[in-house]
């Protein structure tokens, strides 16, 4: 039986990819005050960003409930004997913990492997897609996990914030980091892998986009590129074209950033993920 893949909406995978690769997506939950919205179900991405800007309360994001994972797994146990469940990095979210709890509560013959992607957005999404491609090709559960973990190791994700305002509101900037440039309207570029730290502090949008591109392209032997945006399709398209010009043979995935990063990045947030090729044996 084919191994089934479960992820969460923090992967920011476009609907057609999810459908093509038969991936099950458990929605993350965004809370505006005490009102929960399931990502992509109760609130579209456009509605989310509109609400983010207009809502008097800053949203908090939360992992799906254990029950949501149980439901997702239970929907699959009849169809498969193995599930690989790949999620937003445990450093950023309790999603992995919720998935593990759901797995432990289910029991039964179906084997469920939970993988911590250590990343978010397409940094996670690419690992999920790689796992799904392996699974659909008939790979064993161990090989599917290995396929995901391989991308986890090789991916690099960075985000460009148009403003520090939303990160500050969401409490995702430490006190000292929040000091970085708030008097100079800095548009920081952050590394989003395992931990978040500032890579660069450009001050204009064009310089920031250029810097984001340069930082992404600085990795050697790139085999896959992702470009993410929240409310800036034109900027995303421009980055895609830059990538195609620089790396004509490398596939580029464009994706819409959902609330997981969007709540903290705010409108205007951009992201890029690059996956380095596997190192050949020396």
């Amino acid at each position: 039986m084919i191994v089934r893949i479960v992820t969460d909406s923090g992967a920011d995978l476009p609907a057609e990819v999810v459908e093509d690769l038969s991936i099950t997506v458990v929605p993350l939950v965004t809370l505006f005050g005490d009102q929960p919205f399931r990502d992509g179900i109760d609130l579209t991405t456009d509605q989310f960003f509109e609400k983010l800007v207009t809502s008097p309360v800053h949203p908090s994001t939360s992992q799906p409930s254990v029950g949501a994972f149980q439901k997702a797994y239970e929907g699959l146990v009849d169809k498969t004997d193995a599930i690989v469940s790949i999620h937003v990095g445990a450093k950023f979210s309790g999603t992995v913990a919720a998935a593990v709890m759901a797995r432990d509560s289910i029991g039964g013959p179906c084997r469920i492997e939970v993988v911590d992607s250590e990343g978010a957005s397409l940094g996670l999404g690419f690992a999920v897609a790689a796992a799904a491609r392996a699974a659909n090709a008939g790979a064993s559960v161990d090989d599917v996990v290995a396929a995901a973990q391989s991308v986890v190791r090789r991916q690099h994700t960075m985000a460009l914030l148009d403003t520090l305002e939303y990160a500050r509101r969401g409490g995702r900037l430490s006190r000292v980091e929040a000091l970085l440039g708030n008097l100079l309207h800095v548009k920081p570029i952050l590394s989003v892998k395992t931990e978040i730290h500032a890579l660069s502090r450009p001050r204009t949008r064009p310089a920031a986009l250029q810097r984001l591109f340069d930082l992404a392209m600085a990795y050697p032997n790139i085999e896959r590129v992702g470009v993410m945006h929240a409310t800036s399709p034109d900027d995303a398209q421009m980055l895609v074209e830059w990538v195609k010009e620089r790396l004509p043979s490398v596939p580029v995935q464009i994706a819409r950033l959902g609330p997981a990063l969007g709540a903290h990045g705010g409108p205007g947030i951009m992201g890029m993920t690059v996956v380095e090729g596997e190192k050949t044996e020396a």
Partner: protein, 569 residues
């Protein structure tokens, strides 16, 4: 034991209407739960009286939340529970208080206070009545429990004060057996002394010139209890109606906690269950964050921590039992207030491997440099070049062993280099010749990297910026064919006198015209002490109109002598 109950607030006066003059107890051998209740009621009233004063102690850089409010609200919850208990047994009342405190504890100080009360109750657990020796033992147990509540106890805090109180009470008890009033008087004196000494133990207090707020709160509580024992009931009359919840709301808006600033959320919750293990929970919470407090017993734990993963902490709580009263606050939300504090006190954030010393003058410029990570500012500029010693002192004041100096003026570079030679630290002087160059260099600082890498990237960054400095000519002269009359507004472009006009605006206009190219993307106008935000904004509008693709930012520089310093990138 029957009798009236001491009112907590006049809002509750229907329930606890009057202070009843009870039989004088201070010389009695033993005391009941009712006595205990009233002593702590007096503590609570005295705490309420002093809450605002304690709150005002809370000065950055040791943001402690509103400690007075937190402790008062904790005591109010404590006493609510104490009055729920109908028992006159000391152990029952102390137990109820400990439970009430745990349920109602707010903030670090409140949680530690709750643990003090827990230790107090544990020590009295076998006593239906207590004497002064039991009271002394209870203070000791309270001190021990309080220490255990904190993951990394710090001296110069309420913990130190509590220990001093316990020791002084024991000492007095040895000498004057059986007199609770005397023991408590010794405890109050010891608390007062210990509070006064907190600044000598905690550098942050010394720097801010204040005593520890939590310790002060404890002192106030003990004094309230003593006033009750002495029969000083007049001073314990109820206050006008207040709304502490509203004060609390304000307190949560104010900066919350000591913390290291690494973690995003102040997270608190209660877990109820059975066979709860405080030690194991503490260990797990330490993996998730810092400022960890875990207190309680096998059936109820109160947890406080600062973490980037509040969900994970709460999930762990839910795995133990029923989670109630979850509270997740943003710490970083308060960055703005922190900046305001930086501006008011000169507190220096400690950023990264390399310390940055900046020479600048003007309140605005200093703030911007600090906000970008400067560890020390040497006041100085064109007309007041700092001494080598001043720069050296700034270098030595950095906590880092590697330091980069940004002189931001060609007349200061040499002094900076001399300072570098005279320091035992590794010091690199980056030849920044203007404020904009210094800003560009500092923006390129990478806190993760060492001196050599940073020096290289900062050097590159500061070469990408052009500088316009507008000032008044102090004499009539001619430079490189440019005739300048005294009092004219002149502009230096990258250090070269190039423009002389009859108004600062005209000098800016002409300078911009010369420097801005189609490649320019950003102009930053730092307006000086004698310029206004309105004038700067008008200039910016003018520039934006001429160069629509140029981003024009306005920043208050507050520099003397120069009406405008402008960077073009």
């Amino acid at each position: 034991m029957a009798g009236g109950k001491l009112p907590l607030t006049s809002a509750e006066s229907d329930r606890r209407a009057t202070i009843t003059h009870r039989r004088r107890r201070s010389n009695a051998t033993t005391y009941s739960g009712g006595d205990l209740r009233e002593m702590f009621s007096a503590s609570t009233i005295w705490l309420e009286r002093n809450a605002q004063a304690i709150n005002s102690i809370n000065v950055f850089p040791v943001p402690d939340g509103d400690t007075g409010t937190n402790m008062y609200l904790t005591m109010r919850a404590t006493m609510d529970e104490a009055y729920e208990s109908d028992s006159e047994a000391a152990n029952a009342v102390a137990g109820a208080m400990a439970r009430g405190a745990l349920m109602g504890a707010r903030g670090n100080s409140g949680v530690i206070l709750s643990q003090i009360l827990r230790g107090f109750a544990d020590s009295l657990s076998e006593k239906e009545r207590f004497n002064s020796l039991d009271f002394v033992d209870a203070l000791h147990e309270a001190a021990v429990k309080a220490d255990r509540a904190v993951s990394h106890p710090v001296e110069g805090t309420i913990l130190t004060v509590m220990r001093a109180v316990a020791a002084a009470a024991r000492e007095r008890s040895r000498k004057m057996r059986g007199n609770l009033k005397s023991v408590l008087a010794a405890a109050v004196d010891a608390a007062k002394d210990a509070v006064a000494k907190t600044p000598s133990l905690l550098p942050a207090l010394r720097e801010a010139g204040v005593v520890d707020a939590g310790g002060q709160g404890l002192y106030v509580m003990l004094e309230g209890a003593l006033r009750y024992l002495r029969g000083d009931l007049a001073s314990l009359a109820p206050l006008a109606v207040q709304d502490p919840e509203r004060t609390w709301a304000r307190a949560t808006i104010a900066v919350h906690d000591v913390g290291e600033g690494e973690y995003g959320y102040c997270t608190e919750f209660l877990v109820s269950g059975d066979k709860l293990n405080a030690g194991a929970t503490l260990e797990r919470m330490l993996e998730l964050g810092d400022s960890v407090l875990v207190v309680g017993d096998e059936t109820l734990l109160r947890v406080h921590l600062h973490t980037s993963q509040p969900e994970t902490a709460l999930a762990y709580g839910r795995s133990l039992g029923k989670v109630t009263q979850p509270k997740v606050d943003n710490i970083a939300e308060q960055a703005q207030q922190f900046v305001a504090h930086v501006q008011s006190t000169g507190y220096e954030p400690d950023l990264g491997v390399v310390g940055i010393v900046v020479v600048a003058s003007g309140a605005g410029l200093e703030n911007v440099f600090r906000s970008l990570g400067a560890a020390a500012i040497v006041p100085g500029g064109d007309t007041m070049n700092p001494s080598i010693k001043q720069i050296l002192q700034a270098v030595e004041s950095c906590s880092q062993q590697e330091v980069i100096v940004l002189p931001n003026n060609k007349n200061i570079v040499l002094a900076a280099q001399q300072a570098a030679k005279n320091s035992h630290k590794r010091v690199h002087v980056l030849r920044t010749l203007s404020v904009p160059q210094g800003m560009a260099a500092l923006l390129a600082l990478n806190p993760e990297q060492g001196l050599d890498d940073n020096a290289a990237s900062m050097e590159l960054a500061c070469r990408d910026v052009q500088t316009i400095e507008v000032t008044k000519a102090i004499r009539t002269t001619s430079v490189d064919g440019l005739r300048v009359r005294i009092g004219q507004d002149i502009a230096l472009l990258d250090g070269t006198l190039a423009v002389a006009e009859d108004s600062p605006q005209a000098a800016v206009r002409e300078s911009i015209r010369r420097l801005v190219s189609p490649q320019s993307s950003l102009a930053t106008i730092y307006y000086g002490a004698r310029s206004t935000a309105e004038d700067a904004e008008a200039l910016a509008e003018e520039i934006r109109a001429v160069y629509p693709s140029l981003q024009v930012d306005i920043v208050y520089g507050g520099q003397p002598h120069y009406s405008y310093i402008i960077s073009i990138e």
